[in-house]
Symmetry: C2
């Protein structure tokens, strides 16, 4: 296949999912908290706030009015052209709705409704696809959450945003901040849960796509679309099964990986998990080894669990790949520094002894009184509990300049009084002067800890609250760099790389 040609075609075909000129919600509902109610509400609000550029029309067979907007009895009554139809009506009515969409000239449809193959209604699902094909309508769904685009305001998440608790109304279904991770999920529930988790972890999202039964648009097409998407710097995928066109996914995936990294979490990798997968999506989870080989062939990194998936994505979305496996560590906490070294080596990274030149340079700073005299330099550079902001700046810059160090981990515990509020700002400045992959750890979860990490995250330097989690990020940058190198595109990739923030 000609990947570039296919990409041009797909870019145009899928564009209305994310940047439609107009939207119709078929099944806009008066019933508070129902999917058709929540989706119409959120899209209207996004439009009124100016975030969503598309005009939004409500369609309800009974007509009437909702949120101050007229409801049309049929999409055919909508006075303007509609590019993107969002369908939230009972399954049995969906084939006819698609037929009407076709007549209206709709280009894409996100089908939220469930009740198709997942409950045995294969014929109904086939009919939906047949009608869509007749009119060239591309489909995401059915039986999924649809789409969340943090930039364009397209948002079909139908879980109510707030919920009553014993302590009053609280945020139930948050939206993460806009960022550079795009997430393709074969499970809707996992999608909600991960978005909720990303919100609290200060992880930024670009696009979220929940496939549901995935009868039309699939992984390889979505990768083609995201290949040129400026706000997508990494794609994470939750996959239970690839039912068709696995070969195409490998080919597209490999081209994609040369530009941007992919991280995959596979569900159903054990006997019990595979059994559950069968009940969940009637998918054969298949031979794990075959999936792994395919993922590796396409250059995707494989995450062992959700924490690793998201910690890897955080690093990959903000930092360049590493040229080698050598990690330099600087810390003001002896014990934590030892743990970073242990976790790094266990993950297949190297924590080499520092070069003579680097040690000389560090000793110079000791003589100048900038690094405390009790500091030790075995890598980790242990600046000791008396380290100041300035100790960090000079030690980190020394590591950034050392050509034998491929990636830097700054383990800056905020607790000692000698570390001030200026530390993040000063460190960000020096780290930004180099394009060497750098990660920050500040352990803790109370206010100062959260504040320090936010400074780094918001400046594009990924931070983590535990050593092992930074190592997930470091490993991802190293493994991705090694894959690019093996495929002869590392140098080109690094030349073209620029900070997202």
């Amino acid at each position: 296949m000609d990947v570039l040609k296919e990409k041009r075609k797909i870019s145009e075909e899928l564009r209305p999912f994310f940047r439609p000129k107009s939207i119709a919600v078929i099944g806009a509902s008066h019933k508070e908290g129902s999917p058709g109610n929540v989706i119409f509400h959120n899209l209207i609000a996004n439009y009124r706030e100016g975030r969503l550029k598309a005009r939004v029309y409500g369609v309800n067979i009974k007509g009437g009015e909702l949120f101050g907007e007229k409801l049309y009895k049929s999409i055919l009554d909508v006075p303007e052209a509609v590019e993107h139809a969002i369908i939230v009506i009972p399954a049995k009515f969906v084939p006819d709705a698609i037929e009407e969409c076709g007549k209206k000239g709709v280009k894409v449809a996100t089908i939220i409704s469930g009740g198709f193959s997942e409950v045995g209604n294969f014929e109904l699902e086939r009919k939906v696809l047949e009608n869509a094909r007749k009119y060239g309508i591309r489909i995401i769904g059915p039986n999924g959450l649809g789409i969340f685009d943090a930039y364009s305001g397209v948002d079909t998440l139908f879980i109510p945003e707030k919920k009553e608790t014993d302590e009053g109304l609280k945020i139930n279904m948050p939206r993460p901040k806009a960022g550079f991770i795009s997430f393709l999920s074969q499970s809707g529930a996992l999608g909600d849960a991960v978005l909720d988790y990303m919100y609290g972890e200060n992880l930024g999202i670009s696009k979220f796509i929940s496939w549901g039964n995935k009868i039309d648009v699939d992984e390889s097409e979505m990768l083609l679309y995201l290949m040129d998407d400026e706000t997508t710097r990494v794609v994470i995928m939750y996959i239970e099964a690839i039912r068709k066109e696995g070969q195409k996914l490998v080919i597209v995936g490999k081209e994609f990986s040369k530009k941007k990294p992919i991280v995959v979490l596979k569900g159903g990798v054990t006997a019990a998990g595979a059994r559950a997968t069968w009940s969940h999506t009637a998918s054969l989870a298949g031979n794990v080894r075959i999936y792994e080989a395919a993922f590796r062939e396409m250059g995707a990194l494989i995450a062992e669990n959700l924490l690793e998936l998201l910690d890897m994505a955080k690093a990959l979305s903000l930092q360049p790949p590493a040229k080698g496996r050598n990690i330099g560590i600087v810390t003001n906490g002896g014990g934590p520094g030892i743990l970073v070294s242990d976790f790094a080596e266990k993950a297949g990274l190297r924590v080499p002894k520092l070069s003579k030149e680097t040690i000389e340079e560090l000793k110079k700073y000791v003589n100048e009184g900038i690094i405390p005299p009790i500091a030790t330099f075995p890598n980790p550079i242990d600046l000791s509990g008396s380290a100041t902001d300035e100790s960090y700046v000079v030690a980190t810059e020394t590591l950034l300049q050392d050509p034998s160090i491929d990636l830097v981990i700054v383990l800056a515990l905020h607790h000692p009084p000698t570390i001030t509020k200026d530390m993040p700002r000063k460190m960000i400045k020096v780290i930004k002067d180099y394009q060497k992959p750098t990660l920050v750890i500040d352990m803790g979860s109370a206010e100062v800890s959260v504040w320090v990490r936010k400074q780094f995250d918001d400046a594009g330097i990924p931070s983590y609250p535990l050593p092992e989690r930074a190592i997930y990020g470091a490993k991802a940058l190293v493994e991705y760099g090694m894959w690019l190198k093996k495929n002869g595109v590392l140098e080109k990739h690094l030349e073209e790389w620029h900070p997202a923030i």
Copy 2:
């Protein structure tokens, strides 16, 4: 050795560290933010608030007054008997201070001051110990953070509680809530960091002990003390090296493990980590296999990283050990349920098919309309996104009653509108009716998610924000149960077990 006899002796000897009748801070300092200032301030505050029962005296060679309290020029001038001396003066003065403590009849001393063997001053350290032995004073330290006891108010953490940020004063060094985990750390920096982390994770602590150079009281003695400590349900340890009496630790550890679990994280398990350990505490990290064998012999669980250490501790501090490896899972999220199954089996747990009787029972609830008809029962019981609070209650109770299920994991995603604020309360009630180990997962980190987890945690049912983290907890309960069984004490242990909350 006669462990019980030794325990009685140690219980009396170490008691004044945690429950002293009186305290003297030798080195109470006027310099704001200095260790001697912070410690004296916090102890006085705890005393005035009534949490600390011990009268607190300040000692400063210059005399004067601090926080409205008279400062004595020598501990010998303090008008009453002193049980516990906290020493925060330059290293060179410490031997004489111990001598004076001896004359005063002080029973225990926590030496915060650094500047001993860790910087080569072996002779000074030897002198401290010699003076202490002369008077029978027991010592924790020097060069550590000392002690934090969430119940008695003894608190020698010297990091200032608040720190200036660009957004004003924020919590810098929080104290976790009172709970049932005691933490022994060979690294002070790690101690601060872990306490900070525990605070945000809603993990409860009983006692924290930072050994520093550990010249006197050691791990095995502290285990003897904690064996009968009512608020200690699990001990977690960060160990770089055991320099002496490893055999004693194994003997005591094994007796301890029959009553309460221990979880160990060893620093310096790789070449790089071991090199850093040598720089950090001049310890030979030693052969990892030997340590592992010793930890296993004493029944300690080995954590691979900090997340695992704390997630294991959370489960062990609140739930009884499991009788077997069979896990039952109930969820309203298909994908997340698959992941729990995968992670469980990868961790060596079993997710068996449900018994005919259990499936019949569940089908009865489907017929009664309590469990949705599209629910599936392969284990995980996938109640589907339409599950209600009541679906959860009946499905969970069915698993709790099933004799072939040893541990239950409730993966209750709060997002769907059918899950209400009553779910935690109703679930807590049914889970509390059984003493079968049960863990809860609610994925997310926004408000409702945090609120739901807090309800369960505060009721003594450990909750986790990610599936893999609950599996760390489950694995700990199973491995500990299997160790107790192997040693013939599981039944007795379970008979005596009662909920901490």
